[in-house]
Amino acid sequence: MPKKTGNTERKEQIRSDALRKVRGRALFIEDIPHDRLLHGATARSPVPHGLIRGFLNIDEVRAMEGVRAVLTAADIPGENTVPFVKDDYPCLAGSEVKFRGQPLALVAAETRDQARAAAEALKADIEEYPAVFEAVDAMRPDTVRVGGDDNIHSSYRIRKGDIDEGFRAADIIVERIYRNSHQVHCYLENMGMTAVPSPSGGVVVSGSMQCPFYVHNALVRVTGLQYSKIRVLQAETGGGFGGKEDMPSLQAAHTALLALKTGRPVRIIYDRREDFIAMSKRHPVRTRIKYGASADGKITACEAEYIVNGGAYCTLSPIVAWRGLIHITGPYEIPNIMADSYVMATNTVPCGAFRGFGQPQANFANESLIDELAEKLDMDPLELRRKNLLKTGSVTATGQRIGESCGMEEALERTVKRISFRRRKSGDPGVKKRGMGLSVTFYGVGLGAEGKYFAKSGAQVYVKEDGSVLVAVGNVEMGQGSETVFTRICADTLGCPYDMVDVLEPDTTRVPDSGPTVASRATMVGGRAVLDAALKVRDALTRSAADIIGVRPFDISVSGHKYVSSDGREAEYIEVVRAAYARREKMAAQGWYRVEGVSFDEKTGQGDAYPVYTFSANACEVEVDTETGQVKVLRLVAAHDIGKAIHTPSAEGQIQGGAVQAVGYALYENLVLEKGRILNPSLTGYTVPTSVDVCDVVPIIVESPYPEGPFGAKGLGEPPMVGPAAAVMNAIYDACGVRVRKTPCLPEDIMEELKKIT
């Protein structure tokens, strides 16, 4: 039920971007008109692996109606690479093609249909090579070589304590293998980009994206232009979830190449099918994991092997697997750990960033196994978790001591209380059986030690003559609410009303490289940059207020929309701004924040991996129809310790939306590949949850403040997606005694397992 609140309070809760969106006036990339616009399209590889000998009909395609340019790898003026973690991903395939759907050539034409028809018509002469599709197959020494000498894109390890001693000390040992399939982002706005040549010989690129500075880097590499000739703007972005972290760089490069070649504005927008085929996915993972525990339920050791199918190129996979590995033993204090991750190269679509970034797979494995361990110990899984949970002062798998900001226990206890957690142990008579399940997670906020090069953010705050404020930031709004969060951090610091603040569209010419908008870092890192800039301007306002009131600046503080002296005299915000202008104070300032103090030893896997962690608990009740295998989630409660909610409705929205994506991951979303070909590239073939498939999600916000974060805030974007899949699977087991060790868990999986136990 909506909360009963007064009009003022309700108005205060409205997001800064809500009005333009309910009026249909938000400008997504396809909504921005351009004169003389050309439409771009991409010719893609029909085979999963092969040698490109050339193109059979390129002159005919160039002569097709409306076609203005056809570009291949040979036409790239700069380097043929789009930089991610490694520089292995070609902008257009040069000699070797490594996955079905890989871009081979680009077309620009007068209409979208003409461009697509031309791209479709272009025929490449490709000598097909043998291909490998599964990560475990790519590990065989005699198999096809996709990347490097051994098909390993990357590997990481954690060694803590003495693993043999840990298992010797255990009374019970349980070991299982869990598997996850691909997951597709399915943001509602397909990927799109526009490039406009600029008079200086450069190019302005705008589009749907999470990381304008990644796009900027890629454009410099591919075009050979210097940074100052390229400007990147983020248009309104219709959902990202990580899917618009990596691949926008590739699409932007394609669009810019066509614009520079033709001298005209060019737009590339994928249709839904192409978006499914071209964009990166959540990685399929096979996890072997083993816990040892004493009879009283203390976990003594954990061993894990986390094998990731990275696809044909490495994109962000090493960091995905690193994050997965750091968290794979669960939010528990365990003295002895041996864990290894491998990202394998295969001839499938490259996987990349997706909300949770390796953790949903890892958490699915460890939180399923915890329940399996509890059963062997004959313990309540809730009790087993309570006994081992991380708390302030606990040491993580990487040897990091958990700081003061740790709401793990509170998150768990409030969750089980809210849902009245009670296990049924398959006790329901009849066909439809109900059960409850639980999971707990922790999430390292930000890029961590392996991404620290990008762990920085910039902002500019500019107070105008009438007290209105322009805020320039490098981190983007993509639906998650960062624009509102930045508005509030700035307004509350300056003492100005929220509706006087405008956050500008992210633009690489306005603020320094602020890293990506990923890893739940926008509030904690981008927000600190806004705070830093706002505090600098506030210093000037404070001096002016002191002048008006006739006290020292030291005696001034900000309260609501007023500057107040310690003896209780006041000056209104707007009055202070006018005084500051009269004094010729500098009313604009740049802010900067960089994350310090993270470390990671690649030999031992020990170090302070992340600056701080978000702690979460999920519980749900499901109903399993034992005649059809259908599972319905009836109730879902999710609690997250995020330090501080800067804007509560947005925080709740993140929790609810992430949980529903995770229910889709657990039960519905099934991408089917056959020899690297995606067989169901549509929203009918690949089913994301609709409003009738899911229940209301009850969000609980726990606030254990993090002193380094703005107003105590940590990060929230990703944690909601991490835990619910295991909670659902544990609930299914509780309902009907069936343990499915894969995602998605489809009705046929339930039926097959049910047959085994009856």
């Binding site: 039920m1 909506p2 309700r10 108005k11 809760q13 409205i14 997001r15 971007d17 809500a18 009005l19 333009r20 969106k21 309910v22 009026r23 249909g24 006036r25 938000a26 400008l27 997504f28 396809e30 909504d31 008109p33 982002h185 399915c186 943001y187 509602l188 706005e189 397909n190 309104e236 972005t237 219709g238 959902g239 979830f241 249709d271 839904r272 993509m478 639906g479 998650q480 609410g481 409705p649 947005s650 709740e652 929205g653 609810q656 939306g657 992430g658 949980a659 529903v660 994506q661 549509s682 929203l683 009918t684 994301v688 949850p689 609709t690 409003s691 009738v692 899911v694 209301d696 999600v697």
Partner: protein, 153 residues
């Protein structure tokens, strides 16, 4: 082909290929940009408009089919006080995240509340089940429609 229709309460004519989708005619022919293309196959609901008062996905209607009929988009509904209250409820409830699906949901919600002023949560879930949202998990959208219903009654 010349197509004449009542678009957002105004009689209009346009020379447009009758086989092309209504979505394209509205966006490109009339510059009505509130409706979006999310799939082009009637799967996602981001191009929902009212055709003779009923919600349809404009990507699945051929332009020629609207000859002589009434088409209403978000732009045309903005003068309607009930519709504005629904917009307001979406804003106040936090039902808007990325905003790409929002116009479609608003139109589906408007059609529901026009026909059923007191829908239950399950009625609301069914009424918007043709509209996908990947951001909110639907809870706050259902809250918003429920709240709009309370205000409009």
């Amino acid at each position: 082909m010349n197509i004449s229709l009542i678009l957002n309460d105004n009689k209009v004519n346009i020379d447009f290929n009758p086989l092309r989708p209504l979505l394209e005619m509205l966006r490109e022919g009339f510059a009505l940009r509130s409706l979006k293309e999310g799939c082009g196959r009637g799967e996602c609901g981001t191009c929902t408009v009212l055709l003779d008062g009923k919600p349809v996905t404009a990507c699945m209607v051929a332009s020629g089919q609207v000859e002589g009929r009434s088409v209403m988009t978000l732009e045309g509904l903005e003068g309607n006080e009930s519709f504005r209250r629904i917009q307001r409820a979406f804003m106040e409830t936090g039902a808007v995240q990325c905003g790409f699906c929002t116009p479609g949901f608003l139109i589906a919600a408007y059609a529901l509340l026009r026909d059923n002023p007191s829908p239950g949560r399950e009625d609301i879930r069914r009424a918007v089940s043709g509209n996908l949202c990947r951001c909110t998990g639907y809870t706050k959208i259902i809250d918003a429609v429920e709240r709009a219903g309370e205000i409009l009654r």
